[in-house]
């Protein structure tokens, strides 16, 4: 497991740096679930952090249980159970502007997934 795998995944999921304790917990969890070895796609994503979003989006459509997705989902579960990040997961009152931002995010996710589909054969 790359030493900054946890930090990269945390940064991708929340858009900011995550604390060292969450990274440690991720490493412990990945070992416990035998997620330690990185496949080609995960190695590529870690070397090129810009590719995590398109590859994750594409894999969600074609291989939801891919190792990269399993690791990202594990990191999401870890972050969800950390008090520092619970506001990124708990429901809260949102404005119309937030709704537009969420809709725009979904549209962007579609574009990224399409790009990921093009990228995937080269990475594999």
């Amino acid at each position: 497991m790359s030493s900054d795998e946890a930090a990269s995944f945390g940064r991708y999921l929340l858009g900011r740096e995550i604390d060292a304790a969450s990274c440690d917990l991720y490493r412990t969890a990945a070992r416990a679930l035998a997620y330690g070895t990185a496949d080609r796609i995960t190695r590529f994503a870690l070397r090129n952090p810009w590719s995590i979003a398109p590859l994750d989006g594409a894999l969600a459509l074609v291989q939801p249980d891919a190792p990269l997705r399993k690791k990202l989902l594990l990191m999401a579960a870890i972050l969800e159970t950390r008090p520092d990040y619970c506001d990124d997961f708990l429901p809260r009152d949102r404005s119309v502007r937030d709704a537009i931002a969420v809709a725009a995010g979904v549209a962007r996710a579609g574009v990224l997934a399409a790009f990921g589909m093009l990228l995937l054969p080269f990475v594999r």
């Binding site: 991708y12 999921l13 858009g15 304790a21 917990l25 412990t28 969890a29 416990a32 679930l33 979003a53 994750d56 989006g57 969600a60 459509l61 939801p64 249980d65 997705r69 399993k70 990202l72 989902l73 594990l74 999401a76 579960a77 870890i78 969800e80 159970t81 950390r82 008090p83 619970c86 990124d88 997961f89 708990l90 429901p91 809260r92 009152d93 949102r94 937030d98 709704a99 969420v102 995010g105 979904v106 962007r108 996710a109 990224l112 997934a113």
Partner: protein, 534 residues
């Protein structure tokens, strides 16, 4: 050989009720039970609300994800998928000690203290007269037994449109807990469209729950911490453990945990019960005058088939179950109240005929955590998180159970298996007929239509494996004629003199209403008959 008047096998909902009735009737009772408990997670869970825990407890990952992070692992939906780490003890060592094989059916069994009811969703439903008749349960004794069980466990419910399906004419029912805002919106829509929804054969109401909303018998009312998937709310939620804890100090009651009952042998001197000590594999023998099997439908079937030596196929009933994740659009992008509960908020009943009632249940989704939903989304994890956080306050899970009658192609039998500690396994063949399949899918389409009328938009229909409803019955059916591997109306196993079955094995029909209250009422009825006969 008669060390005890009665041995009760199993500590689940049936076993607990049967034991209480027998003790109250003056019998000396021993309870033999697998007895697995959660000693690991329960002490870690603070007595705070779900939101408070999320904001403050740095150790929450242990009981939300498990010490081995097993809840965070990617896996498909199956029976028991809803078991959180503090509830996993319910299935501890089941794969190893209760060998089962099936290509079409995924049962959930338990060797836990409290059995499957240790994680029961607490929803209750009184069977109608015609449902009792089809299930071969006597109307008047069951009616009386429902009231006795309700008085023991404490039930909340409402006097609304659904009352005849939930608590019927039971008295002493406590008021329901407050609705959360998402469910309240659906209930308000129902009020507006009641006539049209009723015309489709559906009624909506508050479910009856074995949850205290007012103090009772030393138990506190629910504190609405929204932690029902993880803990028992200080005893407000009824579990068999609560009843057994009250029986424990009684001089006529003895509890033996760590025992897997394998078979019995009856002769003129009484009944010898053989058990396997699950801790060290040694064999033990207990003696009694009367044996009450309440080991759950599959557990009881194993014991009876081994003891009789019969090479027979037993019938099986199980409710086919579907769930429909849905979105209440008017509630997305909102906060949720801190004080609420995770149990069924609303129940829908579809009555086609008096004994043909399908049951829908509506839960608001929050305390099972967001990450479980992210893996189901066809989006990257980051974008799925952002979207689902926004939608969560309007996200509901609607479940739908179908009634089940005895039809072809649903059987269970015993087969040799050298790798199992008991030397055998249970084989299960369970296939819906084409007509059943068609009928269920058609009914589910109607259910989805009613959800839409209530303002909830179904996102998809998920059919978990057969067996996932966890409602099982019918392996040793009640029969009026003398026939082996059936039960006499008083619960006595035909061919035996003093062996009784107190779980749902005897039901000849499985209504879609939650079975637990009825199997408790039946257990009380069977035990009362034993106590009366002395």
């Amino acid at each position: 050989m008669s060390d005890f008047d009665c041995i009760v096998v199993g500590s689940g909902a049936s076993g607990a009720m049967a034991a209480q009735t027998l003790i109250e009737g003056g019998a000396r009772v021993a309870m033999l039970d697998g007895g697995y408990r959660d000693d690991r997670y329960a002490p870690l869970i603070p007595q705070r609300t779900f939101v408070e825990i999320r904001r403050t407890d740095p150790g929450q990952f242990r009981y939300f994800l498990g010490d081995g992070f097993e809840s965070a692992a990617f896996r498909k939906v199956g029976a028991g998928a809803q078991l959180t780490p503090p509830r996993r003890f319910i299935v501890e060592r089941v794969d190893e000690l209760l060998a089962t094989a099936s290509r079409s059916f995924t049962p959930l069994e338990s060797l836990a203290f409290g059995g499957l009811a240790a994680g029961w969703g607490l929803m209750c439903g009184v069977y109608s007269a015609s449902e009792l008749e089809r299930a071969s349960l006597p109307k008047t004794p069951m009616h009386d037994a429902y009231q006795i069980v309700a008085d023991r466990i404490g039930i909340c419910g409402a006097g609304d449109d659904a009352r005849r399906f939930t608590v019927g004419d039971l008295t002493g029912i406590q008021p329901p807990p407050p609705l959360d805002p998402t469910a309240a919106r659906l209930a308000a829509n129902y009020e507006r469209r009641r006539e049209a929804i009723n015309a489709r054969g559906y009624v909506l109401g508050r479910p009856a729950l074995a949850l205290l909303t007012q103090p009772k018998d030393g138990r506190a009312a629910t504190s609405l911490r929204d932690m029902e998937f993880y803990s028992d709310d200080g005893g407000a939620a009824w579990r068999p453990a609560a009843t057994i804890a009250r029986l424990a100090p009684h001089p006529n009651f003895a509890y033996y945990g760590g025992e897997l009952v394998t078979r019995f042998h009856e002769d003129d001197g009484g009944i010898a019960v053989e058990a396997l000590d699950v801790r060290d594999g040694t064999q033990r023998r207990y003696g009694c005058r009367r044996l009450v099997l309440a080991a759950g439908v599959f557990g009881t079937a194993r014991i009876v088939l081994r003891s009789s030596g019969a090479d027979a196929r037993l019938p099986l009933l199980c409710n086919d179950y579907t769930y429909v994740p849905s979105l209440v659009a008017g509630r997305v992008g909102r906060s949720m109240p801190e004080r609420t509960q995770s149990l069924t908020q609303l129940a829908l009943f579809h009555e086609r005929a008096s004994a043909d009632v399908a049951v829908g249940t509506i839960f608001s989704y929050r305390s099972l955590l967001l990450f479980r939903l992210l893996r189901e989304m066809p989006l990257g994890v980051r974008d799925a998180r952002i979207l689902m956080q926004y939608l969560l306050s309007g996200f509901i899970i609607a479940g739908f159970d179908h009634p089940q009658e005895s039809t072809m192609g649903k059987h269970v039998w015993r087969a040799p298996d050298g790798s199992s500690p008991t030397g055998d396994r249970l084989e299960i063949a369970y296939d819906l007929t084409e007509a059943e399949r068609r009928d269920h899918r058609e009914r589910e389409r109607e259910f989805a239509g009613v959800l839409r009328a209530l303002g909830a938009w179904p996102l998809r229909r998920v059919h978990p494996p057969l067996g996932s409803s966890l409602h099982y019955a019918g392996t040793l059916p009640f029969a009026n004629e003398e026939r082996s591997l059936t039960l006499a109306p008083d619960g006595r196993l035909r061919g035996s003199r003093n062996v009784y079955v107190a779980d749902a094995s005897g039901f000849t029909f499985l209504p879609a209403k939650p079975v637990t209250l009825s199997l408790m009422a039946n257990a009380h009825r069977v035990a009362e008959g034993i106590a009366r006969r002395g």
